[in-house]
Amino acid sequence: MKRNIPVKILRWIFVFLLASFAIFPIYWMYNTSLTPLGGLFEGQNLIPPVQNSLEIFNVFFTEVPIWRWLRNSAVVALGTTISSLAMAILAAYGLSRFRFFGKGILGFALFATQMLPEALLIVPMYALFMGLGLLDGYTGLVLANTAFVMPVAVWIIKSAMDGIPYEIEEAARVDGTRRLAMLTQIMIPLTAPSIAAASVIVFFDGWNDFLFASTFVTSSEKWLATVGLASFLGEFVTPLATVFSAALVFTIPPIVFFLIMQRQIISGLTSGSVKG
């Protein structure tokens, strides 16, 4: 297809501007984390005065307990991942390979969770966890996050399993392989990329959770990174460079993993949601 050069250049410039718009706030976090206090209030420069990017890691040696926050977040995220995936893989297989009474209801329930505002469920969940003595601990957070994100994992994994031809299983069944073995030895390896994508989504759902973490956990030594970082809002003691170094250290992992897995995440989400 022949097209004139100026149109191509204009389109390139347009995409460049769009991409700059997308990346700018992250760049600005980075820029702020490398700008000393004085430089911030007399008009922040587009290029940070400190050129050594590794300086953001100095945040680990400040009084901000970022290390502990990140560890707490990782514990909740890992717990959410394990509990969500264990249930989601089984459920996805059941939904993909069987017809059974109640299948439609389950499918609807999985979609309906996307509609529920956390802010509504948080009230009865708070009452429930209060009764079970799970407030101010991580179990309640894992349970609450799993309730919201496990359905998404089911969607993604089920749509991947739908794409695996039945014949593969039929062939295996002749050998007398049992259903569960079929799942672990055939379906899980074949859908591994989608399961990995689902893991990334689920893990960072726990990592990013603010609502449950700020409501259910009260003692500050148990704070997750989201709650710790949010505590900087409206507080003017911690230097902004430190605040944004901490924010960056917290933000980089999800960006890296989403970019690595973007292809699988998108194909999972689109086939899962578009086909309903």
């Binding site: 995409v15 922040q44 970082l229 924010a247």
Partner: protein
């Protein structure tokens, strides 16, 4: 098949029981709370008070302004994110130098945690030293109170929200664009259609189902969005961004009125539910038209 009837239930059982315990029962309990005068510290000791919570909410003009704020916020975010996502997807669908890098850059906002979005936008919107006001001053418009001025609060919050969510639309549309059959496009071009009209008659109809579902998801997500709004403005300035979800949270955890918060939450859920029902009925009509 020789397989027992309960086999499927062994697979879906755990997830189903989990959803009943941690989604359905809390939902029913929330529904029950909405008819009581439950209080935060002793949530289970509320008395049944019938429709009093609903009557009070529906008789208060504050509810209608909150409902309107929710609709406005949702509308702006959905229209903004869908347009921007669509433009970005179309712009990046064809080959151009650095395309993979640009696509990654355009994907980044979607991966950024809400709390980080709030921290950086809060700083960019800062009255004295934020970059937004550096720009407006350079343009000669002067400093703006992005998070202080009631007429700008909604703009500030929707702008940050659109920035965060548009990549989802872009990626979904991009996936759909790559599945447009090449023959269809070529056929329409052989017919003498120029690029723009072939785009309108071939590509857009192909994208419509995707755009519709993505818009529904985006609508539902916007109605229930919490942290970006709560942390950026807390529903302010003077109620300009006080959506129903923000209201529910404040009633429950600031005023400790669980009963009223629950009733408000149920009304919010009805809003999402009606959007979904309207969507599916429109979708069915469209599907009929397309098969005719």
């Amino acid at each position: 098949m020789g397989e027992h009837r309960i086999t499927p239930y062994l697979f879906v059982g755990a997830a189903s029981i989990y959803l009943i315990l941690f989604t359905s029962i809390p939902l029913l309990r929330g529904f029950w709370f909405s008819f009581t005068d439950s209080f935060l510290l002793v949530p289970t000791e509320g008395k049944f008070i019938g429709l009093a919570n609903y009557r009070r909410i529906l008789g208060d003009s504050a509810f209608y302004s909150s409902l309107w704020t929710t609709i406005l916020y949702t509308f702006i975010v959905v229209v903004g994110a869908v347009s921007l996502g669509l433009i970005a997807a179309i712009a990046i669908n064809e080959k151009l130098p650095g395309r993979a890098v640009f696509r990654s850059m355009l994907t980044v906002p979607w991966a950024v945690p809400g709390v980080s979005v709030v921290l950086v936008f809060n700083w960019m919107y800062n009255y004295d030293s934020g970059v937004a006001n550096q720009v407006t001053q350079a343009l000669g418009i002067g400093q703006k109170g992005w998070l202080i001025d009631p007429s700008l609060g909604m703009f500030a919050v929707t702008f940050a929200s659109i920035w965060k969510v548009f990549p989802f639309i872009m990626l979904v549309v991009l996936a759909a664009l790559q599945s447009v059959p090449e023959e269809l496009r070529e056929a329409s071009q052989v017919d003498g259609a120029d690029r723009f009209s072939s785009f309108k008659t071939v590509v857009i109809p192909h994208l419509m189902p995707t755009i519709r579902v993505a818009s529904l998801l985006m609508t539902i997500w916007s109605i229930r969005r919490f942290e970006i709004i709560y942390l950026l403005t807390g529903g302010g300035p003077s109620g300009a961004t006080n959506t129903i979800v923000i209201n529910v949270y404040k009633q429950a955890f600031e005023s400790s009125e669980l009963g009223r918060a629950a009733a408000l939450g149920i009304l919010g859920l009805l809003l999402s539910l009606s959007v979904t029902i309207v969507y599916f009925s429109v979708d069915r009509k469209n599907a009929k038209k397309e098969t005719l």
